[in-house]
């Protein structure tokens, strides 16, 4: 199994397409960091315009922690598209090149082969997330320094102590790994139906875009289906950055406002991942491989 995963990883990283995602993430993060470094004050003034009319806010607000949060908000919506590039190509790519039949004559069961491919896709996904974390979190910490995290939400403000932030990022990236694995599983599932890569890649992207739009639309009729869409739960990482307050409105350090939301979202994502993989397995085991 280990050698099969190694072979699959070799195949992934042999393709130039793989590095598009790493390059795109680096470029996007670099451009945001550059913009905020040069003109971050204007951005902050704009964000704090409402609040600073009644409060004096003192301290290094634009620090690495806040910059990373801003970037994650922007990027974690789009990273699934980059993951689809590889995950949705895992089986269909082989079919397209005509190597799938050749692969299946090897003395491994279809289940083992599929599992190795899926593990390789997950490893790629995690590597992309680690890359994102290195550049967005550690890069921003280096460039902007660290301080308390001052988070402006739609209807309230959260102030997290510097010592109370890093573990939240570990949690957030861990959660993002779950969410991105679900995306990889979806791409993987769709790749079993096609004999060229473009179809499942575009299909995965379309499903994500479509579901994300439904998840974010505040139209009551869509509220009924929102809990069943995995994209609704993919933004659960933000919950790590909301703190609980006691009866006298005092933030409790080390707490999370809605931990049950994180647990529920994690379970939904894990269930989707397992569901997509089992479905892939069922389809693939019975599939007549002709290419």
């Amino acid at each position: 199994m280990f050698s099969l995963v190694q072979v699959e990883l070799y195949k992934i990283f042999k393709r130039p397409r793989t590095y598009i995602a790493f390059g795109a993430v680096a470029a996007l993060i670099g451009i945001i960091q550059f913009g905020l470094k040069i003109d971050g004050k204007s951005y902050l003034d704009f964000m704090l315009n409402d609040l600073s009319s009644s409060l004096e806010i003192d301290g290094k607000i634009l620090n690495g922690y806040l910059v990373c949060y801003v970037m994650l908000q922007l990027l974690l919506v789009h990273v699934p598209l980059l993951i689809a590039l590889i995950a949705a190509d895992m089986i269909s790519g082989e079919a397209n090149m005509g190597t799938l039949r050749l692969l299946l004559i090897k003395p491994y069961s279809r289940t083992t082969l599929l599992l190795a491919k899926f593990i390789a896709a997950i490893i790629y996904t995690l590597m992309l997330l680690v890359w994102l974390a290195i550049l967005a979190l550690f890069g921003s910490m280096l460039l902007f320094g660290t301080d308390d995290m001052f988070l402006l939400k739609t209807s309230y403000v959260v102030l997290l102590k510097e010592s109370d932030v890093f573990w939240r990022y570990i949690g957030a990236f861990g959660f993002a790994a779950l969410a991105m694995t679900t995306v990889a599983a979806l791409g993987f599932f769709l790749s079993v139906f096609a004999e060229n890569s473009i179809g499942p890649i575009v299909a995965t992207m379309s499903v994500i875009v479509f579901f994300t739009i439904l998840s974010t639309l505040n139209i009551p009729i869509f509220n009924l289906i929102k809990p069943y869409l995995f994209t609704t739960h993919m933004i659960g990482w933000k919950e790590f950055f909301d703190i609980k307050v006691n009866a006298s409105n005092e933030a409790i350090i080390g707490s999370i406002q809605n931990p049950e939301k994180i647990i529920k979202a994690s379970l939904v994502l894990v269930a989707h991942t397992i569901g997509f993989f089992v479905a892939t397995l069922l389809v693939f085991r019975k599939k007549d491989i002709l290419s």
Binding site: D50, S53, S54, I57, D148, F150, T154, Y156, E162, I252
Partner: protein, 230 residues
């Protein structure tokens, strides 16, 4: 008619005497506060604003005559009411360019306090009126309500302890008005935010803020570099 004139004269003399009493009381309070040229203190600040979730923070407080006042948080980001905390006790009565009005005695909690209103004589002053609730026996300001032109009305409640002999409080509760906070979802990128709109009562509650400062370890009249207030 003669009786009536005498009565008006009597009322005028009584109000003049009361105003003089109030001015004397303010002088006594001021004399006590003037014992402190500068101080440095450590403390704990609790911010209680409905739309802000913030932990308790350790702070350092600096004061230098006549009205330099600075609160610095020990690392991290601090939130203070705009222009508010600069209205500290000394700066409330630092100038003598105001008129005093005696507003009688009022019970605040278990204490009977003399109420004195200060009206600035200067047209340009940001302060419109200050109402002081003074403990006559100790010559200490226990409560102050200040209405300003730019920053609304502030209420300060003071508790005294070990440093009451120089008029320095152990605890100050600062109440002030805030504006309703709301950022568009397009800016916060929280399109998924499903919070319900606030009720009228909650919106009203959101307009009140409270900052509580507990002072510890005063260092009085040991000198403070002016650079700290920049």
């Amino acid at each position: 008619m003669k009786k009536c004139r005498l009565f008006v004269l009597f009322i005028f003399c009584v109000s003049l005497a009361m105003a003089q009493d109030a001015a004397q009381l303010i002088k006594k309070v001021k004399a006590k506060l003037e014992l402190v040229d500068n101080y440095e203190a450590t403390g704990v600040m609790k911010t209680d604003i409905a739309f802000i979730k913030a932990p308790i923070g350790k702070i350092k407080i600096y004061f230098k005559k006549p009205n330099l006042f600075k609160i610095k948080k020990e690392g991290g980001i601090s939130l203070l009411p705009k222009g508010g905390l600069s209205v500290n006790l000394s700066s409330l009565i630092a100038s003598s360019n105001y008129s005093t009005i005696d507003a009688g005695v009022q019970e605040v909690g278990a204490k009977k306090l003399r109420v004195v209103k200060l009206l600035p004589n200067e047209e340009a002053s940001d302060v419109v009126i200050t109402t002081l609730y003074i403990n006559e026996k100790e010559s200490l300001i226990e409560k102050a309500i200040t209405t300003t032109k730019e920053n609304g009305t502030y209420t300060m409640l003071m508790n005294y302890g070990a440093y009451s002999n120089v008029g320095l409080p152990d605890k100050v509760v600062f109440e002030f008005n805030t504006k309703n906070y709301k950022l568009p979802k397009g800016i916060t990128l929280e399109f998924e935010d499903d919070t319900k709109p606030l009720s009228a009562a909650q919106q009203l509650k959101n307009k009140k803020g409270r900052v509580e400062i507990s002072y510890k370890n005063y260092i009085v009249n040991k000198g403070i570099p002016a650079a700290i207030f920049n």
